[in-house]
């Protein structure tokens, strides 16, 4: 019955522009079904899935709000080297200036006289960079492992699932701390470490999606057409698993940012760059006297994570196959 509902939007313009000769004389050589009205009836609203999805995304309130917020943060990160060209770790003023005390330092200074505003702007760069790159690493590894396990099945699947479980039984943050402690803390090692502890989430998801999708008739059809495994995985299955992956990835960026903040808070971040987590960490001893030192970066982290989660929620609504455009 729902079909009626959706069909109304898919109308055809040329269904009855010419008379249909049902009882027309039929000779074996001219088959009128090849020119039956139905065959020329294609929905007039020629919408491309991708364009339609983008439109629906923009109209979604969660995505719009999250997107706006995230754009502000991205702009801040992009402007940081122009607004605050110097090293944000250098001492520039009297320590512990409160926000508003000095117009040159709108967010005040910390106990070492470093500009908090410069720290927040430059910190956005670090947080976003680590969030995005670590997630890319996690997603890539996750897709590789999950797709292999889900598509191949059998003993390969068994082995890979054990590996995934091994990673998931160790609390991910403890694993992260261990990894960073073994390697020297730097942006590079922190990013890799976060990527390495987050991939199992994606791997499990991709494996589950692949196990369902590989049984679909269109994959069966691809096999019957003689497609190779690579083509089937990349062209046929992966695009259909992508919505679920994108939704999870948006939330993983938020998780990665939080992990980096937590590491820096514990002093395990890169000591040579300023990040929101390290700002909170260094402001923590002064929380009674100069609470803004922890509150400001804290608020920024909350807003960033909120923005990403909003986008994730909106993406779920739009891309979820059950409620989405493509049935």
């Amino acid at each position: 019955m729902l079909q009626i509902n959706t069909r109304t939007t898919l109308l055809q313009p040329e269904a009855d522009t010419q008379p249909i000769a049902v009882s027309a004389e039929v000779s074996p050589s001219s088959w009128p079904n090849l020119h039956a009205a139905d065959t020329h009836v294609v929905s007039a609203t020629s919408h491309n899935i991708r364009r339609l999805t983008v439109l629906r995304l923009l109209r979604n309130p969660s995505v719009a709000a999250g997107g706006a917020l995230l754009s502000l943060i991205i702009i801040a990160a992009a402007l940081a080297p122009f607004l605050y060209p110097g090293d944000p770790l250098s001492m520039v003023a009297r320590p512990l200036l409160w926000p508003g005390q000095n117009a040159a330092f709108p967010f005040g200074t910390d106990s070492l006289g470093r500009d908090v505003a410069a720290g927040l702007f430059h910190g956005a760069r670090v947080s976003l960079l680590i969030g995005v790159v670590a997630t890319s690493i996690g997603v890539s590894v996750g897709i590789l492992v999950g797709a292999t396990a889900g598509y191949r099945g059998g003993w390969i699947d068994d082995v890979l699932v054990r590996v995934i479980e091994l990673f998931q039984t160790v609390p991910s943050f403890i694993l992260l701390v261990v990894l960073v402690a073994i390697a020297q803390p730097s942006i590079l090692t922190v990013t890799w470490a976060i990527g390495l502890v987050t991939w199992p989430t994606i791997a499990r998801l991709v494996r589950a999606e692949f196990r369902v999708l590989r049984e679909k008739d269109f994959v069966m059809a691809a096999r019957s057409l003689g497609f190779g495994h690579g083509r089937i995985v990349i062209r046929e299955i992966l695009p259909n698993a992508l919505p679920a992956i994108i939704v999870t990835a948006s939330v993983m960026v938020a998780t990665a940012i939080l992990m980096e903040a937590a590491l820096s808070f514990l002093g395990l971040g890169d000591p040579n760059v300023v990040s929101w987590g390290s700002m909170i960490g260094s402001g923590r001893e002064l929380i009674r006297t100069a609470w803004y030192l922890t509150a400001l970066p804290g608020v920024v982290i909350v807003l960033t994570v909120l923005a990403l989660n909003l986008i994730g929620d909106g993406l779920t609504d739009v891309l979820n196959p059950r409620t989405g455009v493509e049935r």
Partner: protein, 335 residues
């Protein structure tokens, strides 16, 4: 026979579509009325409307559904809930999804009996066993303690029927009851439904797309196309002398009715196009596919005209005086 269900001018609307328009028909006590149509004809939606179980976005915007003299369109929901299951029951196409997988069969029947007939647990269990016996389930005692997934499709449909008739309803709506079943099982289930109709004097509203089922089991047939009733007739005249061009096309296109056709010598007759072309039509929804269309068909939906005993048709091309379309065989063999 007394009229049990009288539907007049039923119109069902979604915010942006009207899938059932101005539908009228009657069901007498203990008769089998079949509604036949393709997907998108509005037949299942009509069934849901009778139960007042339409999806939230759909609404009955016009018309009346009089059941035993009472208009079901306007009675409050609690009163309707009481009618459901007790006066009107329904079975669905897919018996697996309509049974709760985590409860035993016995539990599900007992629940209905206690709710509607106020039986004690022991009484209800005894009654449940009798019901399973009634629908000819072998070894009903064991079946009571089984879970739905342990039964075959045919057996599950029998259980659904047992639940549906548990409260001795006056009307049983069967929405494609055999579509998901194999032919040999299909015949068993239809035979069972017909036996129950006689023994419990049920009226049966059989909703189907299968013309063979209709011809074999229905007393009267309503043919629907894109939300409209286009023809109504007893099965024999309908099959021997269909009046509406859609009915004619449908019968002609059915290989089942033309035993001797083989692809090496002849083509099947076909209706061009598909039902989706009907949605925007102001007049008759069949216009884009109709071989007999006229100008008036595009703008005005034809009135339903009587065409003999128990027969009516809604078509501009059929006038009451010359209410004889080409016969089935004429329509079939256009080679």
């Amino acid at each position: 026979m007394a009229t049990l269900l009288d539907i007049q001018g039923l119109t069902i609307s979604f915010p942006n579509a009207t899938p059932v328009k101005d539908l009228s028909f009657q069901v007498a006590e203990a008769e089998t009325l079949a509604i036949v149509g393709e997907s998108g004809s509005g037949k299942s939606l009509t069934a849901l409307a009778l139960m007042r179980l339409l999806p939230k976005t759909a609404d009955i915007t016009d018309g009346s559904i009089r059941f035993a003299g009472e208009d079901l369109v306007n009675i409050p929901e609690p009163a309707m809930r009481e009618r459901r299951g007790r006066d009107i029951a329904m079975i669905f196409q897919e018996p697996m999804t309509s049974l709760n997988p985590v409860l035993t069969i016995g539990r599900q029947i007992v629940e209905v009996l206690r709710l509607h007939r106020g039986l004690t647990r022991a009484q209800a269990r005894r009654e449940a066993r009798d019901l399973l016996d009634l629908v000819r389930i072998p070894d009903p005692d064991r079946c009571l303690d089984d879970y739905p997934h342990r039964l075959s499709g045919g057996m599950r449909q029998r259980v659904m029927i047992a639940i549906a008739v548990a409260c001795r309803p006056k009307l049983l709506i069967a929405d494609e009851p055999t579509t998901a079943l194999d032919v040999t099982i299909q015949a068993q289930v239809l035979e069972l439904l017909d036996r129950l109709r006689r023994e419990l004097s049920l009226a049966l509203l059989l909703i189907t797309h299968d013309l063979g089922v209709v011809g074999q089991w229905a007393d009267r047939v309503v043919v629907m196309y894109a939300g409209r009733k286009v023809e109504e007739a007893p099965p024999e005249p309908l099959f021997n002398d269909p009046l509406h061009p859609y009915t004619q096309g449908l019968l002609a296109a059915s290989p089942r009715l033309h035993d001797d056709l083989h692809y090496r010598d002849s083509r099947l007759s076909e209706i061009p196009g598909s039902i989706s072309s009907a949605v925007k039509e102001k007049g008759c929804p069949f216009v884009p596919r109709c071989p007999q269309r006229r100008d008036v068909c595009r703008t005005v939906f034809p009135d339903t005209t009587m065409a003999g005993l128990g027969r009516s048709v809604a078509c501009h091309a059929v006038t009451p005086t010359i209410a004889t379309g080409p016969s089935l065989h004429d329509a079939a063999v256009r080679l």
